[in-house]
Symmetry: C2
Subunit: 136 residues, 2 copies
Amino acid sequence: MTFSLHPQLAADCHVVGDLPICRVLLNAQFSQFPWLILVPMRTGCRDLTDLPPMDYPLVMDEVAFVHDKLKALSKPTKMNVGAIGNMVPQLHIHIIARFETDEAWPKPVWGHAQPKPYSGVEAAMRAAELKELLEI
Amino acid sequence: MTFSLHPQLAADCHVVGDLPICRVLLNAQFSQFPWLILVPMRTGCRDLTDLPPMDYPLVMDEVAFVHDKLKALSKPTKMNVGAIGNMVPQLHIHIIARFETDEAWPKPVWGHAQPKPYSGVEAAMRAAELKELLEI
């Protein structure tokens, strides 16, 4: 089976680019947060440990890489990382830069923020900036 | 500096035991969820990648270990993993078994569930069961 992005993630996000294992997405629905999503390009994974064992540490390294790049760019109060996936049954890992001044603080963003989508042009520009940041 | 558990985590949780790097806690405030919290016994860490680089993959292995043990025990619909930490400034990683029948489903638990604390005896018994499960 070939990897393909879940339609809900495809609809909600703008593709930034591919790392060796993970596709990097910009969450295009919440422009008020620096919010990336990593999707391991593997089939049949929903929970973190559904990953092939040899891929797990490599995915975690990609999480750390993207985490630190987004942190350096955004200079947030705190980074939030989560693999939730109750609604979209394809493993994806949220990496979000949070600020004491953001609308959901100190709560997690999920369910505590109103969507504020990027325009198509804004999403493309933001994704291009992040693509350069991640060198992908 | 010696590691000590943040007072808020100490107040809200019951200690299950120690893995080589992480202290394993039972979240004693939400008895309706199988909910463990891993706290790396390292000082000065708030974000995931504040861990010493050599500890990071080992902590991720402990996350996977606890994740799979709790999943096997609870047989949930979905596992949720998150490092949020906006309120408690000591790195801690939530590992939660979720069910379609739980009160917060399909939302994440944080901010979408009412506390329902274990009694002291219940927490101790549950922690003992988990300690045996994790062989710690």
